[in-house]
Amino acid sequence: MNRFAALLDRLAYEPRRNAKLRLLTDYFRHTADPERGYALAAMTGALTFKEAKPGLIRGLVEERTDPELFRMSYHYVGDLAETVALIWPAPGHQEAAIPFPQGGGDIGPGHNNPPHVPSLTEVVETLATMSKSDLPAKVAGWLDALDETGRWALLKLITRELRVGVSARLAKTAVAQLGQVEPDEVELIWHGLEAPYQDLFAWVEGRGDRPETSNPAPFHPPMLAHPLEDEDFGKHAAADFMAEWKWDGIRLQAAAGRDGDGRSVRRIYSRTGEDVSRAFPDLLEALAFEGSIDGELLIVREGRVQSFNVLQQRLNRKAVTPKLIAEFPAHLRVYDILFEGTEDLRALPFAERRRRLEALVARLADPRIDLSPLVPFASWEELAAARADPAAVGAGPDAEAIEGCMIKRADSPYLPGRPKGYWYKWKRDPYLVDAVMMYGQRGHGKRSSFYSDYTFGVWRDGPDGEELVPVGKAYHGFTDEELVKLDRYVRNHTVNRFGPVREVEYGKEKGLVLEVAFEGLQRSTRHKSGVAMRFPRINRIRWDKPAAEADRIETLEKMLERGEKEVHPLKDRQTERSKA
C-alpha cells in the first residue's frame, strides 16, 4: 500500500501526461500481480466496495486527538482525509494524542512489534467482504501501520475520492505500454475484464493470449475543440463551417452493441473513458440503437434545459434513486456519430455524419435523446449576433444553458484528441466591471492558507456621500502568482478581522481595484446592492487604477436593463483595454 500511495502522491503533483505515463508504467512493471491489478482498478474506478463515510473517519480521529488541535489543523489543511492522514497519532508517536501523564513520566516507546503494513490487495479484498461494524477497527489498524502518504491514499481510496489526475484512458495506455499493444486494443477488451486483470497483464507482457472478451460497446477517444481566437476569423471562411450551440452540460459518449449471445450491451462513457453507465440508468434505457454517439448530458424538465447547477445536483448524489431520476431527468443532446452498427463513420465529413445522426435520432424517437440544432449563419457577424442572443435565433428558453457556439468545419473528420483547424468553441463574452476590494477571506481546501476569496463593491450615493456597496465575491480568475500578491495585499491592508475574514482598507483615496468578469446579472433581494452576479471572477488586478475611478452601481443597473440583448456588451471596454 505504501508503494501504491507513493505512486498516487507523485501522480497528484505531476502535470505532464508523458511523465504520468512513465510513472504508471514504471509502477506496473515493478509491481507484482495481483497488487498492480488492484491499483489499475482503483485508478479506472473499477473497484466496487462500499465506500466509507467521512463520519467514520472523523469518529476515529476524534477518539485519538485533542478536538481543539484537530479543529485548528483541519482549518489549516482544508481537506479531511489529508488532515487525518497527517495528524493520525501512529503508535510510538503519540505526543499529540495522549494527555500529559499526571505526575510526570514519559510515554512509552510504543509497540515492540511494528504493525503489519497492509498491501492494496489486502485492503481491497478485506473491504469487499467485511461487515460494516468491523470496518472502523480495521481502518484504524491500517492507519496505525501506514505512513502519512499511505494514510492519505487509504483514506482517499476508501472514501472514493481518489483523484490524482489520471484518467481511465491514461491508466490503460500505461498498461498497453508494458508491451507492444495499442491503447485502443486494451479499450476494446476492457469491459469484459475484471480486477486484478492478471490475464490482461499476461497478454500485454507477451506471456499469454489475448483475453477472450470483446466489448460490443467500446469507448472511442472523443474529438475536442480549440478556443476560437480573434485571428481565426481572418483565416477561415464562414461558408466552410457549421455551427451548433455550446451547451453548458457534460460531454458523454453513448455506445451500444450486441454481445456474443445477441444481448444488447449499452454503456455511457465520460470524456476520458470512465464508464459512468451506472449513474444514468434512465439514459441507458433510451440507447435503443447500435453504434456510438457523442453528445451533451443535460437535465431537461418539461422540455426545458436546466442550468448546470441543476445538473450538478444530480451528479453530486451517489445513490441513483427513482426519485432522483424523476426530479433530475437525464437527457442526451447529441451532435456527432462515430459508429453506426459496426460501420466506422469517423472518416466521413462532419456534414455527412450529421445527416446519419439526424436519421438515427429520428428513428429512435425518444424524448430523452435529441439533436443539438444547427445555428444558421451566413457571416461571422451573423454568428456573433446569434451567439450574443441565442433566444432570438430559436434557442427559446434553453438560451440560458448555452455557453456560446461550437464551430465545426463541414468537411471535418472525427479525429481523436484536439486536432488543429477543425473544431472551435466560441464562448460568450463576459461582462466586466471595475470594483474595489472590501474583504478577503481564507480559502478552502488547497487554498486554506491564503486569503483567496474577495468581496468587492462599487460606488453608490449613501447618506454621507459616496460609499462602496458590496456586489459580489470572487475566488478565481487569477493566477497562483497573483494569488500570492492578492494575499499579501489583504494581509498588509487589514483594518478589521472577523474570524477567517479580513476587512481591507478602501475608500476614495485608497483601495485595490479589481476588474471583475461575470456571465450575467440578476436582481436579488438578498444582496444589499439589489443585484447578484453569475460566475464572477477576477479578470485583472488594476494595481494602477485609483479606487475613486471604479464603477458605480448605475453601471450594473444599466447592464441589468439591457439584459443580454446587445451583441457586444463589452465592446467599449475592450477597445479601451486594447489601447491601454
Binding site: A6, A19, L69, M72, L86, A96, F100, E148, K446, S449
Partner: protein, 351 residues
C-alpha cells in the same frame, strides 16, 4: 527571591529585550547591542551598533552584508558564560543551521532560554540541539500544528534520487533556502551515495563555500553557467525557492520542480508553488519535537514567538504549563507568501 521572567526579558518593537543587560535578541530594527541566534536574515540584520553571536553566525553575516555589517562584533564561544550588565548569558547549539545557537540568560536565580529557530532532527551540517533546563522557554512555532511531522530525511532524498533515475533526461531543480537547507540537502545527497556534481544557482555559492571552509564535506558543487543550462539533463540543481518557477529554471531540459521545505507536508502548499516533487525536509522542529522540547526543558512558562502560536499555547495550557503567544512580527511567520518576492534568495527563514 527569584526574579519574575518579565524582569529578565520583555517585548519591544525592536524584538525581545533584556533590561538587566541592556541588549536585544534578534532585533528587527537597528539597536545598540544585539545578540543574534543565527544567520537567517529575519533574525540577523545589518546595522546594529554591536553584535554578539557565534563565530559561524558572524561569518555568515559578513558574507551576506559585507564586513561592516555592525559597528563592532564579538564572538560568543559556545557554552561559556558571559557577564552582560546584571545578566549572565551563554550560547548553546540549536541544531537549526550552521552556527545557530540558543541564548541562555540567567539573573537572580531565574533562567530564561531564547531558543531562536531550532530542530531536533539529525543534520550533518551543524551541531545538534542541546536541551537546557530552564524556568522560561521561548520557542518558535513555525510548524506548530500536529499535522506537521517531518519524515525521515533520507527517505525524502531517496525520492529525489528515484526520480532522477526514472527521468534521466530531465533536470531536477531543487528549491532550497540558501543558508542551511541547501547545504543540508547536498550533505544528505552525499550520504545517500550521490557522487555526481551538484549544480548551484549563483545565490548559493558563497554560503556553500563558507560551509565547506568550516570543514563540512559537500563534494563537487559547480556553479551553473548560463550557457550550460540546456545541457544539464539528469543533473540535480539547487537554487533559491524564488527561482524554481521563474525563467531561470525553464532553460533546463524539461525541469522537474522540487522544493525542500517543511511546508511541503501540506499538499495545498506544494501545489500553490507549482511543485512537482515536494521534499519534506525542514530545519525547524516539527510538532512532536516542539512538544518534546518544551517538556524536556521542564519550563513552567513558555512564550511562543511566531508561527502557529495558538495551537502550541493550547497544548501547553492543557498540560498546566503557563504559555502565551507573542505574535512577533518580522520573523518567518506562517509562510513564504509574505516574504518580499525579490529578496527570497537572500532572505527567508529556512523553513
Amino acid at each position: 527571591m527569584a526574579l519574575r521572567s518579565t524582569d529578565i526579558l520583555t517585548q519591544t518593537p525592536q524584538g525581545l529585550y533584556c533590561p538587566l543587560g541592556d541588549f536585544h535578541i534578534d532585533p528587527v530594527r537597528p539597536v545598540q547591542r544585539a545578540l543574534i541566534t543565527h544567520g537567517h536574515s529575519d533574525h540577523a540584520r545589518a546595522g546594529h551598533r554591536s553584535v554578539l553571536a557565534t563565530r559561524e553566525t558572524l561569518r555568515i553575516m559578513g558574507v551576506r552584508y559585507g564586513e561592516g555589517f555592525a559597528g563592532s562584533t564579538q564572538e560568543a564561544p559556545l557554552r561559556e558564560s558571559l557577564r552582560i550588565g546584571d545578566a549572565t548569558v551563554r550560547f548553546t547549539p540549536a541544531g537549526h543551521v550552521l552556527g545557530s545557537a540558543q541564548i541562555v540568560i540567567e539573573a537572580g536565580g531565574t533562567r530564561v532560554v531564547v531558543s531562536g529557530d531550532y530542530k531536533r532532527a539529525e543534520d550533518p551540517t551543524c551541531l545538534a540541539y542541546e536541551v537546557v533546563p530552564c524556568d522560561v522557554f521561548i520557542t518558535e512555532a513555525t510548524f506548530g500544528l500536529p499535522v506537521f511531522r517531518h519524515p525521515d530525511t533520507r527517505a525524502e532524498v531517496r525520492k529525489l534520487l528515484d526520480s532522477v533515475a526514472l527521468f534521466p533526461e530531465r533536470a531536477h531543480i531543487v528549491g532550497a533556502y540558501a543558508l542551511g537547507k541547501a547545504q543540508r540537502v547536498m550533505a544528505l545527497l552525499r550520504e545517500e551515495g550521490y557522487d555526481r556534481p551538484i549544480y548551484l544557482h549563483g545565490a548559493m555559492e558563497r554560503l556553500t563555500e563558507l560551509y565547506k571552509s568550516e570543514g563540512i564535506p559537500l563534494g563537487e558543487t559547480p556553479k551553473v553557467a548560463a550557457s550550460e543550462r540546456a545541457k544539464l539533463a539528469g543533473a540535480i540543481v539547487i537554487c533559491p525557492p524564488s527561482s524554481i518557477q521563474d525563467l531561470w529554471s525553464r532553460r533546463f531540459p524539461d525541469p522537474v520542480t522540487c522544493f525542500a521545505s517543511g511546508w511541503m507536508r501540506v499538499r495545498a502548499r506544494a501545489r500553490q508553488k507549482g511543485v512537482e516533487l515536494p521534499l519534506v525536509i525542514s530545519d525547524h522542529s516539527d510538532w512532536d519535537d516542539l512538544c518534546r522540547t518544551i517538556r524536556e526543558t521542564g519550563a513552567g512558562e513558555v512564550w511562543v514567538t511566531h508561527g502557529q502560536e495558538d495551537a502550541l499555547v493550547h497544548w501547553c495550557t492543557a498540560r498546566g504549563i503557563r504559555a502565551r503567544p507573542l505574535h512577533m512580527l518580522g520573523y518567518g511567520d506562517e509562510g513564504e507568501a509574505e516574504e518580499p518576492q525579490a529578496a527570497t534568495a537572500e532572505a527567508g527563514d529556512g523553513a
